[in-house]
Symmetry: D2
Subunit: 303 residues, 4 copies
């Protein structure tokens, strides 16, 4: 299959779209990004690369970082993780705090903010130097020591992150945060601030397409762990639009409000797209469209 031609076609068909969605503004620092950016990068199982558009410019990966943090925590504490966070889709975005109350402070899954805060807490309890060790983990996966936090984004989110602060305090009230709330939030905001390009993202997530081994073939996760994280991405990776993504695209994946989306087809490829404009559910509008076109044209999906 000529992936490069398919990427070129999709890019051409998308580039001049009149509807580009809305760049996220709730984190002031993110609002500075141009809504015209557009890129798609595919790394196949044999590590051949296919690329089109803005694939080497870095952007804030935001919630995509939740999958990496989950992987590191899963590796560190194994299945005891699931005592503190569930694996069910979250359903309704408008009552997430209510769900957390009803379910006694056990977040529905590790890819919503509440769950990711618990994962951050677990990492703090199990890492010597959480911020440095998380960054090392990401750099190792991507085989790229230049990946770093964006301190301006982290600070911007901390200053306006009242809802995350509310969530973290609610979790603490249920005893599901062990460490200091502000320390957990600071670590969480830093994870979200990690800046990567489409190329770096696709390489980082190669581990989920390659049975737990990174591009250098070092083993980061067992096959069983990879399958489970892929299952969680599929059912929970797109907020209230997880079902839609499974339905339209059919790949495990994760989006971030920076406009990035990563998706993988196990044993076949990992693919990253970037388009900063979001749809009303908070996922990249053109990014969703490009991935949908890709699986439609190639007939490659897990279903």
């Amino acid at each position: 299959m000529d992936f490069q031609k398919i990427l070129n076609d999709i890019y051409a068909a998308t580039k001049d779209s009149s509807e580009k969605g809305t760049v996220a503004t709730y984190i002031p620092e993110l609002a500075k990004v141009s809504g015209d950016k557009l890129g798609m990068f595919l790394l196949d199982a044999e590590q051949n690369v296919y690329s089109v558009g803005d694939t080497s410019e870095r952007f804030s990966i935001q919630s995509i970082s939740k999958v990496i943090a989950l992987a590191q925590a899963f590796d560190l504490v194994g299945n005891t993780l699931w005592k503190r966070v569930d694996v069910e889709p979250s359903g309704n975005p408008f009552n997430f705090l209510s769900l957390l109350e009803q379910e006694n402070g056990i977040p529905r899954n590790p890819l919503i903010n509440a769950g990711a805060l618990v994962i951050s807490d677990i990492l703090i309890s199990n890492l010597k130097d959480p911020k440095a060790d998380f960054l090392s983990y990401v750099r190792g996966l991507a085989d790229d020591p230049s990946i770093d936090y964006d301190e301006a984004v982290a600070r911007s989110e901390s200053e306006t992150g009242f809802r995350n602060r509310a969530t973290a305090n609610l979790l603490k009230s249920f005893g599901n945060i062990e460490n200091d709330v502000e320390e957990v939030l600071d670590f969480y905001f830093h994870q979200c601030s990690v800046a990567m390009s489409c190329e770096q993202l696709a390489k980082t997530f190669y581990v989920f397409c390659n049975r737990g081994k990174c591009t250098k073939q070092s083993e980061y996760l067992t096959l069983s762990q990879v399958k489970r994280i892929n299952a969680i991405m599929l059912t929970c990776g797109f907020y209230d639009e997880a079902g839609e993504f499974a339905f339209e695209v059919g790949l495990p994946g994760k989006s971030g409000v920076g406009g990035g989306i990563i998706a993988v087809l196990p044993d076949h490829f990992s693919v990253a797209v970037w388009a900063p404009g979001l749809n009303e559910k908070g996922n990249s509008l053109l990014g969703m469209q490009m991935l949908e076109q890709f699986t439609t044209q190639t007939n490659l999906s897990i279903f």
Copy 2:
């Protein structure tokens, strides 16, 4: 009507009750109070006093302070208050954060925690020295300069108040807190920590029985304001048990987790009870019973 005899009878019938409820433990400092305390103090419209039991020992008034803060804020900003907080009963305690989300950060009423936090924010924006000025207001109402904050209780609540911290941050995320979240919480915890005896409480709330004038006959509120606060106490003063209290007792009132309850019959009396053991809804178990017996025996209620 021989109020003193009625109080004596009620006290005798209640004193040796085997079911006394459970003293609140979630604020460690409150857990130190003996569950055997029991007092009832009535101040009639002519300022005759009737008293039985532990009516001069001070306890933490906790949520009862919400009514006093509401009165001060109502006096300061008038009906503009109601743009930031509603006057409806809150219904279900298990989804209060969800309600706040659905209703865009406008608390259901000023006597639930979320509403009281907004009131605290309004007071901070309108008082020169919030903590000192609120204390002066309370002392003026009670005509008693000895009333004070209990710093140990305020600190104890601040250290464990993760749920209030969650609520305040959620309000801030909706733009319904103007000031710094921690400053609002500190002021709120101080209000709750005010220590009063049944006697002081009954005197403080005389203003709501006496058409807006305190025991010294200074006017604190207009008649219309008093009626409105009395209406809010009746419909919202007892958490998820407001209907039950209206049904069984039939007086505007307010309870606190310190075990105090204040109630008033406009133009007739204000009455304070104290019994630290709480029922499962968080209201003083024996306090509720004493007030129920009082209105049953005297047939004095607003209905």
Copy 3:
């Protein structure tokens, strides 16, 4: 106090209001009523009458009937009633079925539809000929044998009452309906269809102002029962606007989507208003305003 002059003034000030609300259309039969109707009728404790506007034309009392059914059921089964329905305000109208689910099929109070369906079920289980016996009860209270069901309204509501049918079946699934669901619904729709004028309404509700005795001084309810029903009207009588009505008007009362409102001040008066246009909460827009003006001008309220 010159009640007649006050009524005349209020009527004059309201009659030409440009904002009249919206006549209910979800029951097709009700949509036929003119939005220009306006009436107010007051019956004082001594049975003096004061009247202005359309006070002898009959309209569908709709939910006002819930109070009468509650009174009859309370008289028949006493306090065992409260095992099957609670007395708390319902809070949020948008999750009422959810609340019913969470609270295991126990309606929050007898004045919301779910509660009234349970009351209807109780009446069916305790009356020989429910429809005839309920009508006799109403006629007795009003001392008026001409009061009757409006079969066209009852049929109209039955044909479109899918939400009430949903509620009744949900109650049945929890075991809180003993009789056949369709029989309960048919009885309930008939109660709602009862047609009365403001004059008849004020006379019917005189029992709640007169300590349980009707205009002919026959005893229908004990004083304790009257006080409790008045408490429920105050806290639960206006859907999601109960707090607002207590706050603005300060009287126990009940509204119906036919545009009627009844309110009482114990030992002083019962007062009925009618204006078919509803506000967004489903209560008579001008009716609310007239009652608010009445208690403001007279300073007569329970607070």
Copy 4:
């Protein structure tokens, strides 16, 4: 891979399990089934069969029928279907009616009861003789004319189906049911009552493993439609345990309260299990375990 040996091993390891879950009793007719039944039947892509235990005895497929009805409706009306039902996981089982209210009568997905009732309504509007035509569709898929409704089960469910009746009426109140509510319910209860053996189930669902073609290679669905239904099964097929099933098993599937579970691996196999005892989420306890062991031992899953 020796599927027969794997099935034998799983059967041996499961047969004498002391924890078998609880046979559903809410439909009286289902309560008659023995909790000791246990069967597993696998049909691979080449139509080789592997079988162990009670695989030819028929049981009530219950909610598994929802997938077949969805397939028939999807074939009949295409993507217009998604105007009336969404494709998102439902999240919380305890507020499903609330969700339906908040989301204006659009069920979250076609595999929850509310969604299946809408699908039934669509089939009634588009089939000449709904009950006969649905049965023909099932028989065609399974290549087995002996498959039939179980009238006793359908009647039993109709007599006790108050919650489904509540749901259907709520949908009707939102205008999302076109036909008569009782006709929709009767059709829905009949679909649920279809009796099949594990062997018949596996053959019926072969269409979802074989790109839309049944065992006789007739085309029932397009590849795109099959992929979409598989995606819905994965994200929504197991009530509140969909994430758990994706996490532990990793296959698109559907369970029924009769104790059956069907799952497919596209291009590889369809597999049916039957064990009547349910876990607390309403899915077959031993059935879940057998499928989990199967994908663990074979490493065959979509992830």
